[in-house]
């Protein structure tokens, strides 16, 4: 198992990024790692760009991922994958949801949503894996599980057993939502390959 690593979760406020990072943190803890996770609250939410840093290893000091040090980027929105390029290195894996949420300047017609922006990552040899997580969640039976589908897709890049993730869903998710969340996790995991 990889002895340490950095996972960056990014997206737009309200997309369920904090819960996705929380599930992943619990799985890493259950796998025996020390974990630290850093989030932003308050003004930083309200539809703005949101990030959560998760670091795991034998002993973790810093709660922040350094520029150029994210091993995995889990982006819930295409622009929010491209925005975090300075955190990536050439061996990073980027799991990105194909959803587009228009930033205010685009919604107002003052700017364009950049086309083919993920090619900017690919051209730097970064491994970009796309997933239509909304479709996966819908197929699983609940649109709100899009974040768990993203965790499922990301889990392909971790050496943590999938059973650990399923157990974590059992212990952290309310009983009535467990089944659909497990379904979304497995569907997300099956939707992409490392």
């Amino acid at each position: 198992m990889k002895p340490s690593g950095n996972i960056l979760f990014t997206g737009v406020g309200g997309q369920g990024i904090l819960l996705a990072s929380e599930l992943t943190a619990h799985a890493q803890l259950a796998a025996g790692f020390d974990v630290k996770k850093s989030e932003v609250h308050g003004m930083a939410q309200r539809g703005g760009s949101v990030e959560a840093h998760l670091r795991y290893g034998e002993k973790v000091y810093s709660p922040l991922i350094d520029p150029g040090a994210a091993d995995i980027l889990v982006a819930f929105e295409i622009l929010e994958a491209a925005r975090y390029l300075p955190y990536l290195h050439k061996d990073s894996a980027v799991v990105v949801n194909t959803q587009k949420i228009l930033p205010p300047a685009v919604a107002l017609g003052k700017a364009e949503y950049p086309a083919n922006i993920l090619d900017e990552l690919r051209s730097r040899q970064i491994n970009v894996v796309v997933i239509d997580a909304l479709a996966v969640a819908q197929e699983a039976g609940e649109l709100l599980t899009v974040n768990v589908a993203m965790v499922g897709a990301m889990s392909n890049f971790l050496a943590v057993d999938q059973e650990i993730f399923l157990q974590v869903i059992d212990t952290t998710v309310k009983e009535q939502f467990r089944r659909v969340n497990k379904k979304a996790f497995l569907a997300g995991r099956a939707a992409v390959h490392a």
């Binding site: 760009s49 300075p86 107002l108």
Partner: protein, 605 residues
């Protein structure tokens, strides 16, 4: 082993502080919400055996905690860094009275200004108020230092400051759990010589403070939280708080003096450590606080000559500052449209700022809260924002400077919680000194920005229980405000009319804009009508787009595309509502003149 593991919790720094406070036997806690401190009180409210409350401001909160301490109870006051400015008055004199039950004051600083108007370094308050300050490096330490803070407070007879920063408060880590400590029952005990701060008595307490400072400095030398971690190499580091983590990652083998108490400093220990290394580095975020005081000891060290003095650090920045050749260049950021935070779809404040955005010659003196986002385009309807409550006093000052030429051109805007925090005295001043500036109170029944903490106008207490509800109209009338008007901001046209009339008035006017925050749980649960766009009716006038609602987006069209869609060739595009995001406020439908925005009728209605 399995049992030990069960005692490990996964907590944020704020949750860990609440746990630590509870374990230390805290009985009374008061605070005002403020990022990144808010979750401490929210979590502590969930524990048995501790009284918690939201105070209208930090000064009130600290005084409540001080009173509890005078009664012999262990007490806690929580606030963000700028909150301590508000509470600075009781802070300084509580250092004179000292405590009976232990008193801990949390100051949650916000380097990088993630959610604040400045990045002041509150370690300076510890120096200025002659009060000890502890600073944890992670959630586990945040918990254990709460225990230390209470024992120090009682041993030294002083309030103790505990400083966190955003990357402690909102970082999660593994935290061990303990039992709640038994503390003495509160009682009345009269010690006027210690608690009545008349000059004659305060002078005696001032002497006692000097003795306490000497004792504090001595104690700092042996405090386990101030520890030397031996290492290799000629370069040694002194650090505290979150910066310690960055040093450990950047230079894992180097010797480190980690300070858990950042004021007063253990001078002998620092000298000893400095003498053991060839080169001394002080790594800290924001001000050269440790550096200045270490240099004052006559010790040579590096600090802000290398380390950035603004914003947050990380291990990359620390490494780069000290060994620039050892780090690679990360990828450059791409040029992308920004995604700033925005007022929510259905936010009642939008109705007010939409009206103000049409009054280009009016100066809008803003305040601290969600509504500061009214500054952003397309509304662009805030012209100043300084600190809590300043909207009214700044507007009044402008009005006095402008004289008659400013009549009808100056308006203050602030939220209900901010008004009660520190706007009331400003309004009283404006009435007393005959201002013509108008005041808009955005009454959304909650403290929204920090996550919906109830306030004195909510009619709810910290546990959601029924509480007395402040009547804002009656309060304004009692203060002597000549004109008080209530509007529903979702009624955009009526709101514009009221704004025009009241702002133009030469008499002081208070407009209470009353509609609950759409994100309040009871509002979010309420089934609301959703609006949709009849795009065939859209003429591309952009009136709705100019409201800046995140649920409305604009699709630009070329002449051919416009014609293909059945529009006139000149039409530049059309607006569309993302129904999933719509919260049903209806403000956009009210401004649309072409019946392009319609409400889905509720079934069976």
């Amino acid at each position: 082993m399995a049992e030990e593991l069960q005692e490990q919790l996964w907590l944020s720094g704020n949750e860990a502080i609440a746990l630590g406070a509870w374990e230390a036997g805290v009985r009374v806690a008061s605070g005002y919400p403020g990022t990144p401190s808010t979750e401490i009180m929210e979590n502590l409210a969930g524990y048995e055996g501790v009284y918690t409350e939201w105070a209208p401001n930090e000064k009130a909160g600290l005084e409540v905690a001080l009173g509890a301490s005078f009664a012999g109870a262990r007490a806690l006051a929580t606030m963000k860094h700028v909150g301590l400015n508000v509470a600075a008055d009781p802070l300084f004199t509580s250092a004179y009275t000292g405590v009976r039950g232990g008193l801990v004051i949390i100051t949650a600083d916000d380097p990088e200004m993630h959610s604040s108007q400045n990045e002041q370094d509150n370690r300076n308050y510890a120096f200025a108020a002659k009060m000890p300050m502890l600073e944890p490096s992670d959630p586990a330490e945040a918990r254990s230092m709460m225990q230390r803070a209470y024992s120090l407070s009682e041993e030294l007879d002083t309030p103790v400051l505990l400083r966190t920063t955003t990357r402690i408060a909102h970082v999660k880590g593994v935290v061990p759990k303990g039992e709640r400590q038994q503390t003495p029952e509160p009682s009345i005990e009269k010690t006027p010589a210690k608690l009545v701060m008349l000059p004659g008595l305060a002078k005696l307490r001032r002497l006692a403070m000097e003795e306490r400072m000497a004792k504090m400095r001595e104690l700092a030398e042996t405090l386990p939280e101030n520890r030397i971690e031996p290492g290799e190499g000629r370069r040694g580091f002194i650090c505290a708080g979150v910066a310690y983590n960055y040093v450990k990652e950047a230079f894992p083998k180097a010797p480190v003096l980690k300070l858990g108490m950042v004021w007063p400093l253990p001078e002998q220990k620092i000298r000893e450590f400095a003498a053991s290394v060839d080169e001394l580095m002080v790594v800290e975020e924001l001000d050269p606080f440790l550096e200045t005081h270490i240099k004052a000891m006559g010790i040579t060290c590096h600090g802000k000559d290398l380390i950035p003095s603004r914003g947050e650090l990380n291990s990359f920045l620390v490494r780069k500052a000290i060994e620039p050749d050892s780090v690679g260049e990360p990828f450059k950021p791409l040029e992308l449209p920004m995604r700033p935070p925005n007022m929510c779809a259905g936010c009642p404040h939008r109705g007010i700022f939409y009206g103000l955005s049409k009054m280009k010659d009016v100066f809008v003196s803003g305040d601290i809260g969600c509504y500061t986002l009214g500054f952003l385009p397309p509304l662009s309807a805030i012209d100043a924002c300084v600190c809590m409550g300043a909207s009214i006093t700044v507007a009044h000052g402008m009005a006095k400077a402008l004289g008659d030429s400013g009549t009808g051109k100056v308006v203050a805007v602030l939220g209900d919680s901010t008004f009660m925090h520190s706007g009331i005295t400003g309004l009283l001043n404006a009435v007393y000194n005959s201002s013509y500036a108008s005041v808009i109170i955005l009454d959304n029944r909650t403290t929204a920005m920090t996550g919906h903490q109830p306030n004195p106008a909510s009619g709810k207490g910290i546990h959601g229980d029924v509480a007395p509800q402040l009547d804002l109209e009656k309060l304004c009338q009692a203060l002597g405000v000549p004109r008080v008007v209530v509007v529903n901001p979702h009624d955009v046209e009526a709101t514009r009319e009221v704004l025009k009339e009241e702002i133009a008035s030469p008499d002081l006017s208070v407009i209470i804009s009353r509609a609950p925050c759409v994100l309040l749980p009871e509002e979010a649960r309420r089934k609301k009508p959703v609006y949709y766009t009849k795009t065939e009716n859209c003429t591309g006038c952009t009136l709705c787009v100019q409201m800046g609602c995140p649920a409305i987006s604009w699709t630009p069209l070329g002449p051919e595309e416009a014609v293909a869609r059945g529009y006139r060739e000149k039409q530049k595009g059309f607006a569309r509502i993302t129904e999933l995001q719509c919260n049903g406020c209806g403000q956009c439908a009210a401004v649309c003149k072409f019946e392009a925005i319609t409400r889905y009728e509720e079934e069976g209605a």
